[in-house]
Each structure stands twice: as C-alpha cells, then as structure tokens.
Symmetry: C2
Subunit: 218 residues, 2 copies
DNA sequence: ATAAAAATTTAGACGACCCTAAATTTTTAG
DNA sequence: CTAAAAATTTAGGGTCGTCTAAATTTTTAT
C-alpha cells in the first residue's frame, strides 16, 4: 500500500512533468508540495526504491509506468469527487479542490466505480479537466489558450488552467462559464488584453493574465 | 487540528464508555484499536494533554465535554457517509463500514452539512444506529434486544448490534430487514432460540446469538 | 576555463505513532 | 492479609515524514 504522502508526490510529479516537458526537479517538487528540498530527496529515494520513479542523483525524476498508472488513478478519483461535490452537493467550483484533495485518497476501487456510475460517467471535472479512464488513460483535449486565439475567431470556453478561488470567482463575476461560446472582437497589442463577446451579447474585457489561464476549442 | 488516530481513539472511548458504564480501561482500548496497551498509554497521555479526556494513571479514562463533542461529530460523519454509500451508491449494508471508517475523517463542516441535506436529514444509518444531531446530541432510541422480548409480542426490527459482514449477510439470507414487523411465536427454553413470523407470513428461526444482536421496538 | 551561484544531497535530529521487555501498581484469591 | 495474577505504565527503540545546516555537484557568468 501507498501512503497519502506518496500518492501526493506521484500526482505532483505527473503534474510538473506535463507542464514543462522532461525531468522534474527536486526544487520544483519542494515548492509544489510546500516542503524543503531535503525532504523531497528523502521521498524520491523511497519512491525509486518502490520502482515508482526513475531517479538518478542530481538528474531529476520521471515516473515509471507503474508510477504513472498510480498518479492517473489518484487524478481520476480527485476529479470524480469534484464532479460529485459540484453536481450533487451544490458546492461552487471554487470550493471543491481542498476537499477533493482528501477524498482522492480513500482506498476502494469499488467506491470509485460506483461513484463514476452514479455521476453518469462524466468526461470532465468542474474545471474542464479531462477525467482519466478506468483503464488509466488521460484523454487528449487539444485545447489552446484563449490568449493564442486570433481576432475574429469564435471559440468555446472549455477549461481553466488556474484553480484558485480568486480566479474562479473572477470568472463567475465576468459571466465567463465553461461551455460558453465567445467571439474575440479585439486584441490590444500593448497589453495583450482581449475584448470578447459572450452568448448573451454582452462584451467582456479579459486581461492577458486571465486569457492565459482559459482553455478553448473551436 | 486532530489526527486520524486521535479521532479514532475518541470514537472508541465513546463506544466503550457506552457499552459498559463508567471508566474505559487501557486494555479494552488496546483490544479495540488493535494496538498494544503501551501504545494506548502514550496516546492517553496526549489526549489528556489536549484536554479531550480525564485520565488518572491506572484509573481508566473518560471523555471530557469537548472530547465527547468531537467523538459525536466523527460518529455523525461516519453514519451519514454510510447512508450515502447505501442509498446513493447502492452498496450493501455489509460493505460500507470500512469505507466510512476513512470518509469520517474528511475535514469539512460544510461537506457534512451539505451531505446531510442531500440525504434528506436521515435519522438512522443503514444499521439502524441513530445519527447524532448537528449540535452534537445522540438521539435516544429506547430499543431492547429481540432476545428480551416475551413470546406472543409483536415488535419492529430497528437496528443491529453486530456489524460484521457475516452477520449482516446472514440476516439478508433469513429475510430479516430493518423496519420489518416480527411476531415472536415461540421461545425455546433450553437454548433461548426464538421462532418469529415476519410480514410475509414466513416463519424464521433465530438463534439466541442472533437475537442478542437484534434491536427492536414496539 | 574557472570561480561564484544555484541546485541537490547528506548528516543529524525531531514529533507522531507504534512495538517489546521490564518495572510498577492494582486486583484477586487463598 | 498477603502473595500471586492481572493490568498498566515506563524504558528504550523503530519507521515515516519532516526540518536545518553542512557538504557536494551542476550550472552560470565572467
Ligand atoms: Mn482540484
Ligand atoms: Mn479540478
Ligand atoms: Mn460503520
Ligand atoms: Mn453503521
């Protein structure tokens, strides 16, 4: 069996490996897990021992197949619980991350299977992130950032990159909802902010900072 | 904050204190928590330090008001999650205890409140145990054991004392369901077994061992 | 190319929770 | 009322995950 802590490290390694391609550094992990580099090194030794990561001293770290399988399993649980919290219990999408951080560690295959069925086999969590399959595949999305869309294009808001309460509340406030159709009317060259028109016809001003954290598809 | 382990000790102390009246012994706790007496002593010192129990060396242990409040909170969560697992996810009543043992430690007041609402404010868990109120009161039930019912009496099956999978499966197999009306037709004097008639008209033989673990009301 | 800076690992330690073996206190029985 | 038995605590130690400080390796900049 694996401890909560081990599971969290695996999830974090997966996350960082998919942000910047290639090996994950000790310092990046320390920052992400809010621990010190020395503690990370200890844990990396243990995970390598258990064959969950490839680890060469000073060279960064990469998940093994088994490590990735486990990481995807935790991510699947996390996202399914988030769907439950929002759709069944009525939490806001800005309130569920911390709770799902705990629920994802509950040890029961059967529980996850039944939860998935109960929720109607959702494909995406409340933040638009794809839910890994029971077999452990992360679905491809092919989204791009709103900040990379050309003026005149019409796209659909699919997911958020940033998950902080402040960011999500800001989107709610701007009436930017996932699934929402938006047309890019104007791109300001000096600050890269964009003016988009949403379904209701209303125009919404979006800073580059926000546009960089919104994922869209055509 | 309190650790999972501390919460489990509090819950166990509550349980044992309400079975045999009075102080709870170190050995009883060791048996119940599947640890050794020496480990229990360590933890008792810590819980006393935190003012969650009254503890005098060699004299057994008793919950403080704050300790009891916490214990009832954990029990409330445990039982609400069991209701969820059975009523919403379709688990059998014999499958939910272990999972609820983990879910009960998820730290979020809001989660419990919303879960309670979602479940329709249930009064009892799938085993007939009363769910403590949000304010931290354990409802009185006034149940008696089926083994103490006189011949000729008609009673309603309300709860089980034993929670093991084997026992619960045995009840399923005998078509003994909570809420089920039963009439005691015969009490065998030599082995205290009883013959009851259930709603369907069928007669069911119940050993003393089973009857001692069934709670009923009139 | 090399010295300074940055990243990483090692050394040594601590708190939480658990263990076994030994000492101590309480209970029980003769 | 005492001696044996039972219950409990203490002593000493282990693992897990964390930390700070020091040593080592890699990267960066002159
Ligand atoms: Mn999340
Ligand atoms: Mn999410
Ligand atoms: Mn239970
Ligand atoms: Mn129960």
């Amino acid at each position: 069996m694996h401890s909560f802590t081990e599971e969290n490290y695996l999830k974090t390694i997966y996350y960082l490996a998919n942000r910047r391609q290639g090996e994950v550094s000790t310092n990046a992990l320390a920052e992400m897990t809010a621990t010190k580099a020395a503690s990370v090194t200890d844990m990396l030794r243990k995970l390598a021992e258990k064959q969950l990561i490839h680890y060469k001293k000073y060279q960064g770290v990469r998940l093994t197949d088994e490590g990735e399988r486990l990481a995807l399993q935790i991510i699947r649980r996390h996202r399914l619980w988030e769907v439950f919290l929002v759709q069944k219990l009525g939490f806001g999408w800005d309130e569920v991350h911390e709770i799902a951080e705990e629920l994802e560690h509950i040890r029961s295959e059967e529980l996850v299977t039944r939860l998935d069925t109960y929720l109607g086999y959702p494909q995406f969590d409340p933040h638009g992130d794809p839910i890994p399959t029971p077999a452990g595949q992360m679905p491809e999305t092919g989204y791009r950032k709103l900040s990379e869309v050309e003026a005149g294009e019409g796209v659909c808001l699919m997911a958020v990159l940033e998950h902080s309460t402040e960011f999500l509340k800001h989107l709610d406030h701007s009436q930017l909802t996932l699934g929402c159709q938006v047309t890019v009317n104007e791109i300001n060259t000096f600050d890269k902010s964009v003016l988009v028109q949403i379904e209701s016809g209303r125009s919404v001003f979006i800073s580059h900072e926000v546009a960089r954290n919104l994922l869209v598809k055509n």
